[in-house]
């Protein structure tokens, strides 16, 4: 029974499966928002959404365009401040945080600041926004980006947001809260975690139809490949239907 689904639908569903019920997630716009809303409507009805601009626990009526959008605090339990939610993040109240990136290295460090030289950049990107805060302070970050050799790189021109920095213990040595760091990386090819010993990226599951060779050849750095590699679940018909309800105009899912 083969179903058709788009890459975006797959990523949204895979991301959504990672979010356990009764946990909290710092949500950005776009795919993370879709994934969190999907989780709420499937296995995690009691997932707490927190937005960096101050919205906590809204009943989102329409897909928000911005993290400060009034949709992010529509019928919320708290319409608060950035100070409040960033402090909650720093105090350990936030389980998951989503991050996008222009590029990533083997330790899950990411760049969203600049391509080329910082002082005179070839491409100037928006910078950290809340990404450094999320990557530094939440318990488990989930990174979503397209994978190719220009995005999975040996050496980032700029580390905007910390992953495991340069290996085990590095986060704590630098002063970041203990026990945090990247949990999963989701790309169009598969899902990655981080090796306990080295804190380097390791394959967890490949998407249907993707080979390990494809996965490795689309990364400049070596990805640790375990003996057993799982395969991700493709979106179900019911999930696809919910995705269309969440994003009826295809603002995100249609991409």
């Amino acid at each position: 029974m083969a179903t058709t689904y788009t890459e975006t639908e797959l990523l949204a569903c895979v991301a959504s499966h990672m979010l356990a019920d009764n946990k909290s997630v710092f949500v950005g716009t776009g795919l993370p928002m879709i994934a969190a809303m999907l989780a709420q409507r499937t296995h995690a009805p009691n997932l707490l959404l927190i937005f960096e601009a101050g919205g906590v626990g809204p009943q989102v009526p329409v897909l928000p365009i911005s993290v400060g959008d009034s949709r992010t605090f529509h019928r919320a339990v708290v319409a608060s401040t950035m100070h409040d939610v960033m402090s909650a993040l720093q105090s350990g109240y936030v389980d998951y945080g989503f991050l996008g990136a222009a590029a990533i290295d083997a330790y899950g460090n990411i760049n969203t600041t600049v391509i080329g030289d910082w002082a005179r950049p070839r491409v100037r990107l928006p910078g950290s926004g809340g990404a450094n805060d999320i990557g530094s302070l939440c318990w488990q970050t989930i990174l979503i980006l397209r994978q190719d050799r220009k995005k999975f790189v040996e050496r980032l021109p700029f580390i905007t947001t910390p992953g495991y920095l340069y290996g085990p213990g590095a986060r704590e040595a630098e002063g970041l809260p203990a026990g945090g760091g990247p949990y999963r990386v989701i790309t169009q090819l598969g899902v990655y975690g981080f090796d306990e010993e080295t804190k380097r990226m390791a394959l967890v599951a490949r998407h249907p139809g993707v080979t390990v060779t494809e996965i490795q050849s689309n990364s400049e750095f070596e990805i640790i490949i375990p003996a057993q590699v799982a395969q991700t679940e493709p979106p179900t018909g019911s999930e696809q239907r919910i995705l269309r309800e969440i994003d009826p105009t295809g603002l995100v899912v249609g991409r």
């Binding site: 720093q90 005179r120 950049p121 950290s128 450094n132």
Partner: protein, 334 residues
């Protein structure tokens, strides 16, 4: 508490807390007096070439766009702007030639809508310089330190990254835990601008929904301009004093500007004007387009009301109100 490391980013907006106290003592009036004036007067009196400017709201939400356009119209120059998730406001100021420096948390982008051609062009050509990096919480807490009248605030973000290396933060050892922590220096902008739903003539301003970082920023800035959908009576403010987010004693100017956030969103009042934002993104793709945009919508109009006419007038504004308030449009007539 030894200093373990420090960022090489330029320290902008910092002031000695005693120097700022003296300034507050001499310049911030504790009197309830009428501060209403036109947008044009407010910008003329309180925004100066070379100022460090910070703008309230977040992203495309609750942004005092009438002030932003007026700054361009008055051809203010050499501003340093707080890129505290500054999107459309910063973009317009850069396009208008007002900005020479930015401290960046999030800048040169429009969130889901894509990167900003205008901002990128300015930075990549060197016309506009990024002087320091930080994060959203980093900015928030720099303002918190200033609002508290202390030289710095402790945090646990930024550490270990290039964001830290290009910031103005320092890393020290916490004398209690012995662990490294980040110190964020206070940031006192020269001028901060806000748009709020209601404010009295004295400057007591109330905000509906999330406050983002406006509480701290209003108290951190030396000069504060508030535009408001409506100037309301002192009596109305006093009926719900718990809603006053910005107190009169930090406010220098109050300007009544209905629809004053367009094309940004005003929570509970009107939605983003996506069409107009898209138009700006398209036109600002080239220098010529940018110039056309400004002559059409900013320099070529007399005031904000004329701007509102040009962007579609009452019909557009009513539509944005309908969307924000979840009222479905009437079904199409046959």
């Amino acid at each position: 508490m030894e200093i373990l490391d420090e960022g090489a980013g330029e320290l902008v907006g910092w002031r000695d807390p005693d120097e700022n106290r003296e300034w507050v003592r001499a310049n911030k009036s504790r009197a309830l007096k009428d501060k209403r004036m036109t947008v044009s007067d407010a910008v003329r009196r309180f925004v100066r070439d070379g100022d460090y400017v910070a703008i309230g709201g977040f992203g495309h939400v609750r942004v005092p766009m009438s002030l932003v356009y007026e700054v361009v119209r008055q051809r203010k120059r050499d501003l340093t702007v707080a890129g505290k998730t500054a999107v459309h406001d910063l973009d317009i100021l850069i396009g208008g030639g007002c900005v020479s420096r930015v401290e960046v948390a999030y800048s040169f982008g429009h969130e889901l809508r894509g990167l900003s051609p205008c901002g990128r062009r300015a930075v990549e050509s060197g016309r506009c310089k990024v002087v320091a990096e930080t994060s959203n919480a980093g900015y928030q807490w720099r303002f918190l330190a200033a609002a508290m009248g202390v030289p710095f605030v402790v945090s646990r973000n930024l550490l270990g990254t290039d964001t830290f290396k290009k910031s103005s933060a320092k890393k020290v050892r916490d004398p209690w835990s012995g662990k490294p922590v980040c110190l964020l220096p206070a940031c006192y902008p020269d001028v901060a601008m806000f748009h709020v739903p209601r404010c009295d003539a004295h400057g007591n301003a109330q905000i509906d929904g999330i406050i983002v970082e406006d509480f701290e920023l209003a108290r951190a800035a030396r000069r504060v301009i508030v535009t408001t959908e409506q100037v309301v009576s002192d009596d109305l403010i006093r009926r719900e004093p718990h809603r006053t987010v910005i107190p009169f004693y930090v406010v220098d100017a109050v300007c009544e500007v209905p629809w004053g956030a367009h094309p940004a969103q005003m929570p509970y009042e009107y939605y983003f004007d996506e069409e107009h934002i898209r138009l700006w993104l398209q036109m600002s793709a080239s220098e010529e387009g940018t110039e056309d945009y400004f002559s059409r919508y900013v320099l070529g109009v007399q005031d904000y009301e004329e701007y509102l006419e040009r962007v579609g007038g009452i019909r557009t504004l009513n539509r944005l109100r309908q969307i924000e308030q979840y009222r479905p449009p009437l079904p199409e007539q046959e």
